[in-house]
Symmetry: C2
Subunit: 346 residues, 2 copies
């Protein structure tokens, strides 16, 4: 375990490096933080910290910079959260006006706000459909046996999909199915419904065709549900002024698939989660850190939001921001879900 002095010095290094992006030396620590120690003593201590893996040398005779391990210790044990100012909180809450009643609006707005306030890149993964509750289905038959399905979830998410029926179904039949679904399956989690359908497909009680149709309706491609804002903010960071490296990072940020994977791996544990550098387990973004939290609808976690930025991130602020945003979005979405379908027109 680190002794008090080492903690103080580690903290000073991390703090300074986050602020300046410059390797920090013993002299400047002695000057800025009144630790009552001479540079030489600090030097010895820093050498110890380096041996223990918390700090690193870019080259001999440069100051120290924190390693992933160093940041990790800082985040876990040294950092104090820096709460958002009242203004900021007010500003955020004001953004979610009542008129914002579509999930995609809320997603866009949230990623935008995350990015604007943090000056890093904000992201949010849309509510996972599987975890949503089914509320209502509409079917509109088109030409050539195509059917437009409109799926509405308890949280007010509307999902359109055009499906192909191999044979043209008579209208009564369609209506029959529709009623069955809306009557019997309403308020069930979508995941349950999928299971139900695939069971039916196995048993082959009903017409198989119809259950295949249902299967299509309740199957969707999970991609494309990530909202990202403020990618350019990466360019603000001095450590990415080198284009060659930055470009590959930009490319990574364009790969939604990649980010979605990393994000969904971000376990839905309580509170805010921080992944630093290599901890993201993804080569392409190993120079970035990720601060995430889950948001909920009616208490059940449905999605992830957060911020991606340089390893040298202002964790103390960002953690608070992400926490607050998760709360806010949860409130907004829960609220929205209460104003959703109770009765169905026609």
């Amino acid at each position: 375990m680190l002794d008090e002095r080492k903690k103080k010095i580690l903290q000073a290094v991390v703090y300074n490096y986050i602020a300046t992006a410059l390797p920090v030396g013993s002299r400047s620590i002695a000057k800025k933080y009144k630790l009552g120690l001479s540079p030489a003593t600090i030097r010895n201590c820093m050498a110890d910290l380096e041996e223990l893996g918390y700090l690193a040398h870019p080259h001999t005779s440069a100051g120290r910079i924190p390693t992933d391990k160093g940041y990790r210790f800082y985040v876990d044990s040294l950092m104090e959260r820096e709460d958002l100012s009242l203004e900021e909180k007010a500003r955020i809450e004001k953004e979610y006006s009542d008129r914002m009643n579509r999930i995609d609006q809320i997603m866009e707005e949230t990623s935008q706000v995350l990015s604007l306030i943090s000056r890093y890149t904000g992201l949010i993964l849309a509510p996972n459909l599987e975890k949503s509750i089914f509320h209502h289905l509409e079917l509109v038959s088109l030409e050539n046996g195509r059917i437009l399905s409109i799926l509405i979830t308890g949280s007010g998410l509307v999902k359109n999909k055009i499906i192909e029926a191999e044979e043209i179904l008579p209208e009564e039949r369609l209506e029959e199915i529709l009623n069955l679904i809306n009557d019997r399956l309403s308020n069930l989690p979508l995941k349950r419904i999928k299971e139900f359908i695939s069971d039916q497909l196995k048993i082959k009680t009903y017409s198989v065709k119809i259950w295949e149709l249902m299967n299509q309706i309740f199957t969707w491609d999970g991609a494309e549900e990530l909202y990202l804002r403020g990618r350019i903010n990466i360019l603000e960071q001095p450590e990415f002024k080198d284009l060659a490296r930055t470009k590959s990072i930009f490319q990574a940020l364009e790969e939604k698939r990649l980010l979605v994977e990393v994000l969904s791996r971000s376990t839905p544990s309580e509170g805010v989660r921080v992944l630093i550098g290599k901890e993201t387990k993804c080569r392409k973004i190993r120079d970035l850190s990720l601060v995430t939290s889950t948001y909920r609808i009616n208490g059940r976690p449905v999605g992830v939001l957060g911020i991606i930025g340089p390893r040298r991130m202002e964790y103390s602020k960002v953690v608070s921001l992400v926490d607050f945003m998760a709360e806010t979005v949860s409130k907004v979405l829960t609220n929205l879900s209460h104003t959703t379908i109770s009765k169905v027109g026609e």
Copy 2:
């Protein structure tokens, strides 16, 4: 008017500069293009071209680079279109599989393809709703008098909107309205319908409340309908290796509002349109060029697509690409619109 020699030399300069991004001098032109002229002659000629405003000096004793006027003349009078290869055409057409039956998929795919093939930034403005034809409306009543409206256009575009009814409408009434709309207004352009509604609002024949509701349903915010892909490709261009400048361009590319405005200003004239540098009439992107064309559904123009990239763009290729893509998207969308609603379930 430029004489034959000047044209040849201007063409050589533009061509060379597009290929290399380096100011081009008299010597290299004399060497590469067998014009049968000595460097000195070419020098004189280039000096003339400069005086006429087609070329510019970055500084004394550097080669020439084309001005906007130079590019303009090149595009209008000198350039020959370079058709896409058969492979490329096949590759593009293959991308639009039959399974692609949602407008937003087509938009994403199109901007993606534009970007991939050109190596610049691809963009497409979704079909203008006002110019679309109304096909069908569904209404689902929610709690608190909120109503989910699902608007389907002739081109298969589905638009959801939650609207607030000030007083709760009885279900029969809602159905009545719905039938009225679907029976009487189907196949009319949406613009006509909006006019019709505001007329009704003025006359106040029917219940005003209901027409206000209709007004809400048929009113939408035009924003957010721009699809952009391949922004990073800007970083590939050597002239943007200077971060300071590039950043502001990136910022401009993030401002959808701005781009939408520039794009919609791009008149729906026949064929491909090229805007070079300052011609975009927008300071923030005055170092970029825009190549656009309109795409159609059933022959009527409904949207714009194109490419945005450095002024030093490979116009001869890009113009062909944009032209071909406009044709392809028009076909795909027209095709889609034919498989749309004929009869309505329930």
